[in-house]
């Protein structure tokens, strides 16, 4: 039973070895030009001029600015950010719901059987899903930039940008939630000839309302963050204020805004968690 000691076993070839070494070579070959494209030069962080500017900027962070008129601006900007997020999500909801109702398979009458109009039904659903994907493809900040150019500076651009992008995101998730809930009761209603909207409200919504609402609240929380980011391109709120302060290298104001932003995010997180727990 023991291994033969006279003949040394021949070295065994690992079948995966060649593939792995090949993959390593490919990775290095691809990585090099990527590093060049990204102008990856870590030593630039240690450039003395840049370090000086950075040091001055960071030194200006403390103490955070507490000038009364600045604080008033800060409060106004905070409320504006919250308003942009809430209005944006509301519009996104208005965009998402019809698209989701059209796109979801749970409300498809032609699929029962399958019955007449199957091809047309599938085409419409695919088109609705494509619209949702299209809405989601471009980040909201890009839309904000375009809308700022079209409508001028201010919160309107941010609200519309949120409506478009978050409409796509909400729509896609609503579609999936509606399909993952209790679809049999909806189907039963459709088979009894009920209109789709009725089937939606009598069968799908009661069983999925909690999940739908929970995701909407989560998206609202993301919208608060996104509103700040969009402000950097001129869509109002905390972001626009921060952009102005940083352009003037006013570290004190920037740190006040940053602290307010962190506090806002924490409060939004907490509020969202509370609401989702209430809904559960």
């Amino acid at each position: 039973m023991s291994a033969a000691a006279e003949t040394l076993p021949a070295p065994l070839r690992d079948p995966a070895a060649r593939g792995r070494l090949g993959a390593l070579v490919v990775a290095i070959v691809v990585l090099w030009p990527l590093l060049a494209l990204a102008e990856f030069k870590p030593w630039r962080l240690l450039d003395p001029g840049g370090l000086q500017v950075m040091a001055n900027f960071l030194a200006g962070f403390l103490p955070p600015s507490t000038a009364p008129d600045f604080l008033a601006l800060l409060a106004k900007a905070t409320v504006e950010t919250l308003a942009i997020a809430t209005a944006g999500i509301a519009l996104a909801f208005v965009v998402a719901v019809p698209l989701a109702v059209v796109a979801t398979r749970s409300l498809a009458v032609s699929r029962i059987g399958p019955g007449p109009g199957r091809a047309a039904g599938t085409a419409v659903r695919t088109a609705a899903r494509a619209v949702l994907t299209l809405l989601r493809a471009i980040p909201e900040v890009v839309w904000a930039l375009v809308f700022v150019r079209a409508l001028g500076l201010g919160p309107g651009a941010g609200v519309l940008a949120l409506a478009v992008t978050y409409g796509g995101m909400l729509g896609k998730v609503y579609t999936e939630i509606l399909e993952s809930g209790d679809t049999r009761s909806a189907r039963a209603l459709l088979e009894a000839g009920s209109p789709r909207v009725a089937a939606l409200f009598y069968a799908l919504v009661p069983s999925t309302a909690q999940e739908l609402a929970s995701y909407t609240v989560y998206r609202w929380e993301c919208a608060v963050r996104a509103s700040v980011v969009m402000g950097f391109v001129g869509a109002g709120g905390l972001g626009q204020l921060m952009d102005q302060s940083m352009k003037m290298l006013n570290g004190g104001e920037a740190s006040s805004i940053l602290l307010t932003f962190l506090a806002l995010v924490i409060i939004a997180d907490a509020l969202s968690a509370v609401i989702r727990r209430v809904l559960a």
């Binding site: 102008e39 990856f40 308003a83 209005a87 471009i138 980040p139 890009v142 919160p155 609200v159």
Partner: protein, 268 residues
């Protein structure tokens, strides 16, 4: 049966749901009122005509070879920024996930979790603005910004994976005299690496979109080009860049889904 009827009769409406619904409607109405956006003026006839004119200027997009080359270069640069940033973040997140999962005691866990939360909370655009000051304009700032933010995100996910991984295989190797690094690599790492790569690829999809946006603050790539051309109202060029953005996002999404969908090969 009668008790069911009694229960239905006695069932009270959900007051907290009603209160919540009322609160939500009030908040939305208040938001619109506060913003006081003059929707009538926005969607009035004159305004719509101007908007239509604005949108029409996007077509046809500029498809001249010179500009297409520029757009392609921008797309490649954006991809490079997102890829390198995500790669750095995966490594840094992995390293920080070790103390964050409690392997080196409570103090290290709290400290590393604090660092990860901080990195995560600051949005990428803010990091980019800071990195532009530290490292100068250009794609390097974007790479650093993505790396910093994504480290926070991936680090937290990796820490949770490590916490959930069973301890028995690693303990068995330690009991057989293996060193700590080797035991980790042979026993715990195989349990978490497949999920870790999936998380990193998912973040790459998000980072591609963000990398385009970071260009707005000067971090190179498609975003910087888009910002520039929109600032000087060159809509056809902006249209080309938007199309390039869409194509890039679609390509990376598909690639990521393909790699994630395939059965990943054996760990070692």
């Amino acid at each position: 049966m009668s008790s069911d009827m009694a229960t239905i009769a006695r069932e009270r409406p959900c007051w907290s749901c009603v209160a919540l619904a009322v609160g939500v409607v009030a908040a939305v109405a208040a938001s619109f009122a506060y913003l006081a956006v003059d929707w009538k003026q926005l969607f009035g006839a004159e305004s719509m005509r101007l908007m239509a004119k604005f949108v029409a200027e996007f077509f046809p997009p500029d498809l001249s070879p010179a500009f297409l080359a520029k757009a392609t270069w921008g797309a490649l640069q954006t991809f490079a920024v997102a890829a390198i940033g995500t790669l750095l973040a995966a490594v840094a997140g992995g390293v920080l996930a070790l103390p964050a999962s409690g392997r080196f005691g409570l103090a290290a866990q709290l400290a590393s979790r604090l660092v990860l939360n901080f990195l995560r909370s600051v949005p990428e655009l803010v990091w980019a603005a800071l990195m532009v000051i530290a490292a100068g304009l250009g794609p390097f700032a974007g790479t650093l910004a993505l790396a910093l933010h994504t480290t926070g995100v991936l680090g937290r996910l990796y820490a949770e994976s490590l916490e959930n991984a069973p301890r028995a295989p690693e303990q068995a190797l330690r009991d057989s005299g293996s060193g700590r690094v080797a035991a980790f690599a042979y026993a715990t790492l195989p349990l978490v690496v497949a999920q870790g790569i999936a998380y990193a690829l998912y973040r790459l999809e998000m980072n591609i979109r963000m990398a385009a946006v970071l260009g707005f603050v000067g971090a190179g790539g498609l975003g910087q080009l888009l910002y520039f051309h929109l600032s000087i109202f060159q809509q056809p060029q902006a249209a080309t860049l938007l199309i390039a953005m869409f194509v890039l996002v679609f390509a990376v999404d598909s690639l990521s889904a393909f790699v994630r969908g395939r059965m990943l090969p054996a760990h070692a």
